[in-house]
């Protein structure tokens, strides 16, 4: 009996703690800003892109690097061309397309250690 009561107590405490930390987290971490600058149609549906964009990029990266296949569909350059901010011309920065989600989910990406986060032609005032 004591054991069951202890179990219930522990469960209640855990749930309360979880809810509490959830509230705190919502207060602390800003929701990602997803501003799509150009093009209504991405190369795949939004749900698929959110879940699998990293796989697409890795796959295309190896094809381009090793075999010289420069298909534009899943190329990082193509992503940046559409998704770079109109003001900064970049996918990084405070509300950057890549950086805001990655900051929210706390996933480090190292693409831009080497690749430029800037769209070719720089910041464009108007959508191209």
């Amino acid at each position: 009996m004591i054991r069951i009561a202890a179990g219930i107590m522990a469960a209640v405490v855990a749930v309360a703690g979880f809810a509490d930390s959830g509230e705190k987290r919502a207060g602390r971490v800003a929701m990602p800003v997803i501003k799509i600058e150009r093009g209504e149609n991405c190369v795949a549906p939004v749900e698929e892109m959110r879940r699998n964009h990293m796989t697409m990029l890795t796959h295309q990266r190896d094809r381009t690097m090793r075999q010289g296949l420069r298909e534009t569909r899943f190329s990082l350059k193509n992503c940046i061309d559409c998704h770079a901010s109109r003001e900064t011309g970049s996918v990084l920065g405070k509300d950057g397309f890549c950086s805001s989600c990655h900051a929210y989910t706390s996933v480090k990406m190292d693409c831009f250690e080497c690749h430029t986060p800037l769209r070719e032609g720089g910041a464009a005032g108007a959508p191209r």
């Binding site: 190896d62 296949l69 350059k77």
Partner: protein, 241 residues
């Protein structure tokens, strides 16, 4: 000759001409740029021919290369990246002086590929030797293995890269034969610049294409490989050396 026989011979001649022309047409097709959906093929082998007699005392090729590839230094020659450099040679006895550009020689049997522990250093099917910076761990074995001193290590953070030429700290890099331009059907930046502003000393082309200028010149004129004794079968050849 009966009309039937004449017609038959006519067809025969047409067929023979077709058979003779088909390979030529195929070669013309090969000389065109690949489509982005077509992989680099071993039918081609990209190379350079550099005529040292025409190479003047300018640095046009070096400037053009570093501009095209976004290779910037920090004013520290000992550690700054160098994809191509001008080398001056002088005969000690006669005083005869020469100058020539030296870069990755795009060997058929590249020592840098042999020593790479991760497979980052590799040779593409069309003969271009590259570093896959996604797998490069920056060990610099290839820097030591290359007999031409063609490779550089990036010691410091890089910014302002060109979209076609990613560069980053902790990886090794070298001349890519302007692979992004070659894939578009253009010639490397050094060759374009040399032919425009320099001594017109450089020719780029497919060493396997009998219609290419580089093929004809290598076939009909003497040329040398730097350190031919190593039997690396370099893609970059020199004349007048």
């Amino acid at each position: 000759m009966s009309p039937d026989r004449r017609r038959f011979l006519g067809w025969g001649a047409a067929a023979a001409a077709g058979v003779a022309l088909a390979p030529a047409l195929r070669l013309i097709e090969l000389a065109q740029a690949r489509s982005p959906e077509e992989a680099a093929s071993a039918l081609q082998r990209w190379g350079l021919l550099i005529d040292t007699a025409k190479c003047t005392d300018c640095e046009v090729c070096v400037t053009a290369c570093h501009e095209e590839n976004g290779v910037t230094g920090h004013g520290r020659p000992a550690t700054d990246a160098q994809w191509i450099r001008k080398v001056s040679l002088r005969d000690r006895r006669t005083g005869y002086a020469q100058t020539l550009p030296l870069m990755c020689q795009h060997c058929e049997h590249p020592p840098c590929v042999d020593v790479c522990p991760t497979g980052a250093s590799f040779r593409r099917a069309d003969g271009i030797v590259l570093v896959d910076k996604h797998t490069c761990i920056g060990c610099r074995y290839c820097v030591m293995a290359c007999p031409y001193g063609a490779r550089s290590f990036i010691h410091e953070d890089v910014s302002g890269q060109k979209p076609d030429v990613p560069r980053g700290k902790g990886t090794v890099e070298s001349c890519t034969l302007c692979v992004h331009r070659v894939d578009r059907g253009e010639t490397p930046a050094c060759v374009t610049a040399c032919n425009r502003d320099g001594g017109k000393a450089m020719v780029f082309g497919d060493l396997n294409d009998s219609g290419a200028e580089i093929y004809r010149r290598l076939r009909s004129q003497p040329s040398t490989q730097v350190r031919a004794d190593l039997a690396l079968n370099t893609g970059v050849r020199y004349q007048g050396l």
